[in-house]
């Protein structure tokens, strides 16, 4: 992988004596949009802060654009970071917030003005120059924070849960906005999220993290269709994960015999991959909810609770009734770890 633009080598990050991220290796290509995905506390923010230079690594190295920046001060790295809290400067208006970094570069006033206006225009904030951050909505503040980083033309733009403070509609809007800005500027972007939907929708590649280590790295399709571990599968919505022993499926609650023998030690099904209405297995409906295009059932079975989606074409089954279902080998994702 000689085309790595950001290269993390055995990066170890700790707080005092606690290691938050042990020996992380990651290559990010130029112009790529990478999502760091993982549960709370898995080390996403820690990794970002290290790339930005706000946290110095215990060991390992960080290379950006072919240069080792491990010991380079944060203000010399040319990396932008959009904080989850935006971290706007409350005493400055929108224009001065965006112009802040340009002024430090001692650019001519006309150039500062032009770049700042262009930056504000990119995020759709033309006309808001005189507003203080406190006089702007959450979405506008977020776009302002984005513009403030973008005008610096950073080599890499890091975004820490950029969308988590926004309501659902604004979040969708900002998703497209971020993707558009990324395509327009071609900046290498790394964004943190613990929303798998967000990662799938936006990223070129997803880095799924667990306890400071990379659990799986791949395209959204890789992760969505081909999770390699039970952890990844669970994170990607495979809600039924069972062990396979001979001709039996096994859970902590019990075991059932099926008509096939799998080579993989574990099999996983999304709720939609469970066949419902017929089959060798039986479950009692303990919860049922309408989800637009389908109906979501939770079945109490010999294997414990099984989540299954039924097409609306199948008549609704009342709570407490028994439903036949199948866990077919063909729709299962085999897992080896």
């Amino acid at each position: 992988m000689s085309d790595a633009f950001v290269r993390l080598r055995d990066l170890t990050l700790s707080y005092g004596n606690t290691v938050a991220v042990p020996a992380l290796n990651l290559d990010i290509r130029e112009g790529e949009l990478i999502a760091l995905l993982g549960p709370s506390g898995c080390g996403k923010t820690t990794t970002m802060r290290a790339i930005a230079g706000l946290l110095s690594p215990t060991s390992g190295s960080i290379e950006i654009d072919g240069r080792d920046v491990t010991r380079l001060a944060a203000n010399k790295r040319g990396i932008g970071l959009v904080f989850q809290s935006y971290a706007l400067f409350p005493h400055l208006n929108a224009f001065e917030n965006v112009a802040f970094g340009l002024r430090l570069q001692k650019l001519p006033e006309a150039e500062i003005r032009a770049k700042t206006e262009a930056g504000l225009a990119t995020v759709g904030l033309t006309g808001f120059e005189a507003r203080k951050p406190a006089e702007m909505s959450g979405g506008q503040q977020q776009r302002l924070a984005l513009a403030r980083s973008l005008v610096m033309e950073p080599k890499v733009l890091l975004l820490d849960e950029p969308l988590s403070n926004l309501d659902a509609r604004l979040r969708l809007e900002m998703r497209t906005e971020l993707q558009r800005v990324q395509k327009e500027t071609g900046v290498t972007m790394v964004f943190v999220t613990h929303d798998q939907g967000e990662a799938l929708a936006m990223a070129d590649r997803i880095v799924l993290m667990r306890d400071g280590k990379i659990e799986q790295l791949g395209t959204p399709a890789d992760l969505y269709d081909r999770p390699e571990t039970a952890f990844a599968a669970e994170f990607m919505g495979f809600e039924n994960i069972l062990r396979s022993e001979g001709r039996e499926l096994v859970s902590d609650q019990g075991r059932v015999t099926v008509g096939y023998e799998s080579a993989a030690p574990m099999l996983a099904w999304r709720p939609g991959a469970v066949e419902i209405g017929s089959g060798p297995l039986q479950g009692r409906v303990i919860a049922s909810s309408f989800a637009g295009g389908h109906r979501e059932y939770v079945l109490d079975t010999a294997l414990g609770p099984i989540k299954a989606d039924a097409p609306v074409s199948i008549p609704e089954v009342a709570l407490g009734e028994t439903l036949a279902f199948d866990l077919p080998e063909g729709t299962a994702r085999p897992l080896f770890a």
Binding site: N75, L81, F100
Partner: protein, 260 residues
């Protein structure tokens, strides 16, 4: 109901009497037409208010007190703002101890501070009285500066400085460009509190006065020992007006009481 409102009025009345009463007494005692300090005054005139401005020693000691209050407070802020910042932002070894030491002058009676400074600073180190006074007043104000500035720093998120650094600032630039503008209300509050504290300081200054070097309150005390005329009351009233005016203006401009 009737009883309750009666007792409410009673408490309010008592509170006001004790708070404002002395102030009223002083204003009138200073406005006496007679020649000795008395209340109620014998007749009313403004002559003592005018005389205050002609007493040579008052003028000198007022300037000294002014100097100590302004320059001492600025000095205390120059030390206290960085100290508060360091205590707030960095995990220092023994920062609890530092906090306690910094707060000590608020807890320890001024008279002890004054005596200690005299005994261990002025006498053995040959400090001039003026230097000792300056040192003492700076030290006295420092805890207020640290405390008031700390409380406004607590409300300031540290990620703002990190954002500034990533935009190209050094840590020092980030402090001046981002931190300071956002705590200026707290700094001004600390300045006013320090100014008033220093200006009205008696016990510490008592030990550190020498011939011709007296702060205004000390000067007023010794004036009273010799001349028992109403000019001291008049001066007190003027000083009280000055303090009230400063605090009132600050409150109007900045909501000063938020920071104290």
């Amino acid at each position: 109901m009737q009883m309750r409102s009666l007792s409410t009025w009673l408490i309010l009345g008592l509170t006001l009497t004790f708070l404002i009463g002395p102030f009223i007494i002083i204003i009138f005692a200073g406005a006496s037409a007679g020649n000795s300090l008395a209340f109620p005054p014998d007749g009313l005139s403004l002559k003592w208010y005018l005389k205050v401005f002609t007493v040579e020693s008052f003028r000198a000691s007022f300037l000294l007190s002014m100097f100590l209050a302004v320059v001492g407070t600025l000095f205390a802020l120059a030390l206290g703002v960085p100290a508060a910042y360091a205590l707030n932002r960095y995990k220092l070894p023994g920062d609890e101890l530092i906090r306690t030491i910094v707060a000590a002058p608020i807890i320890v009676p001024g008279i002890i501070v004054g005596l200690a400074l005299l005994r261990y600073l002025v006498v053995p180190l040959n400090f001039t009285v003026g230097m000792a006074l300056f040192f003492a007043h700076t030290a006295l104000i420092l805890p207020y500066a640290v405390r008031v500035v700390s409380s406004s720093l607590n409300n300031l998120r540290s990620d703002m400085e990190e954002a500034a650094v990533l935009l190209g600032c050094t840590r020092v630039q980030a402090f001046f460009k981002v931190v300071l503008p956002n705590i200026r209300g707290g700094v001004l509050a600390a300045f006013i509190l320090g100014f008033v504290t220093s200006f009205n300081q008696v016990p510490v200054s008592l030990f550190l006065s020498g011939p011709g070097v007296r702060t205004l309150p000390i000067d007023m005390l010794s004036y009273m020992e010799i001349t028992y005329d109403p000019s001291v009351a008049a001066l007190s009233a003027l000083l009280a007006f000055m303090s009230v005016a400063i605090v009132f203006t600050a409150e109007r401009l900045l909501g000063f009481s938020r920071y104290v």
